[in-house]
Symmetry: C2
Subunit: 251 residues, 2 copies
């Protein structure tokens, strides 16, 4: 296999609504070939470019948000936004809201981040349709570049069952397989493989977050060495990673 | 930050009980400096070297194992081994056993893998104490090498709540922080960071699995670019990642 490497893109400015992320990525990549490359993007910059944000001064919290905020040192307007983004509130304990989002993700605060960039209090939502966002950015890169565009991965940091801390996972994807299916296949010695359905897009997302410094502005990471998973078609995206609730074994 | 890169080690043979993994790693690394390096090792080779295996011909399944195997096309002896490795059986559905292991990991089949290498049916257990295994291998590398030894990470593939597929996580660790704690710290613009407690050892484990081909023998991966997390002391290990069951929010 080729070496696997992760490199944050330089020169990505603060993102504003309407910004063309594909053009910014293409400018940072320069003339290098993008065939087989995977570009991992922290969802916050995608959300900002798409205007998937809510100005908290426009939010009137309802009774449930006010009740959930009480005694938790939380802004009830922010909780209202989390409730608005939730298809189902799964748990509300010790100031943490776990919900299933409209997209089907199970995560803390429905994936909503707080920002006070530019002096205004904003809630940054997840992109409306992260797989569509990934396809759009990939399409932009195809139009700007030469030959096969890179695959595009959109990430967010999720907590996990039974383990401390967060890791980044794939929430949007275009041009790469989300899963590598070895079920029923055999290894070099003809033995059936055991761990055989690998969430490769999640693994790439997790490591992309390791490649950027948290206190500098490096939301976009170029990944080399996953050529074997990059596809000409956009494919089914990160939605392929969602396990239906009724099939869940761990949650 | 330095580039983050993952490279499988060449020349690792089939592992037998009593093999000296540190010597094999040192031989593969050659004269290169190991300061700041992280060595990720698939747990199966650690278990084989430590003799953490069970010959299934020696196992007499009990009533519970026979009942769980019934109608599931499962070997009741293998299920007996899984039960023996479980502190608590959390779920038994559709042929999948989810348990909490004696170490405190929540995973399928108590982390037990099947192997028929060499013609005998073996159950490969998790190492008895994976953090101790990581410390021992690191100690061996320190004795063989020059200056600060690499950090050592032992991995296994776990399923996740609400998501398809498996990713590798850290089950043993020595010489590196398992978590990067940014809670209360601020970013380049002085804003408080949101996703702020990063399970860096799990992220490194996930990507190490991407760096090896599943059908060749590449159980050990050298990772460069995480120098900032490598420590002189062995530290608390991967046990720091375990969330007490009563504090779990997602499971």
């Amino acid at each position: 296999l080729p070496a696997l490497s992760f490199r944050p893109l330089a020169g990505i400015p603060e993102i504003r609504p309407g910004d063309d992320l594909a053009a910014m990525i293409a400018a940072s990549l320069g003339d290098a070939s993008t065939a087989g490359l995977l570009i991992a993007i922290a969802h916050t910059v995608v959300s900002k470019a798409e205007g998937a944000t809510v100005d908290l001064t426009t939010v009137s919290p309802g009774a449930q948000a006010i009740e959930l905020a009480a005694g938790q040192d939380k802004d009830p307007r922010m909780i209202q936004v989390v409730l608005d983004e939730s298809a189902e509130l799964i748990r509300a304990e010790r100031g943490v809201l776990i919900s299933r989002t409209r997209h089907g993700f199970v995560c803390a605060n429905a994936g909503v981040d707080a920002s006070n960039a530019g002096g205004s209090d904003l809630a940054i939502l997840l992109p409306r349709d992260p797989d569509a966002s990934a396809r759009r950015i990939r399409g932009g890169l195809a139009a700007l570049g030469h030959g096969l565009p890179p695959a595009v991965l959109i990430t967010d940091s999720f907590g996990r069952a039974w383990r401390h801390g967060q890791v980044d996972v794939a929430i949007g994807l275009a041009g790469m397989d989300a899963l590598d299916d070895w079920r029923g296949r055999t290894d070099a010695e003809g033995m059936e493989l055991k761990a055989t359905w690998l969430a490769i897009a999640d693994a790439a997302a997790a490591a992309a977050d390791l490649a950027r410094s948290k206190d500098s502005r490096e939301p976009i990471v170029a990944i080399e060495g996953l050529e074997r998973f990059v596809t000409a078609q956009d494919g089914p995206g990160a939605a392929a990673l969602l396990r239906p609730l009724q099939e869940d074994l761990f949650g």
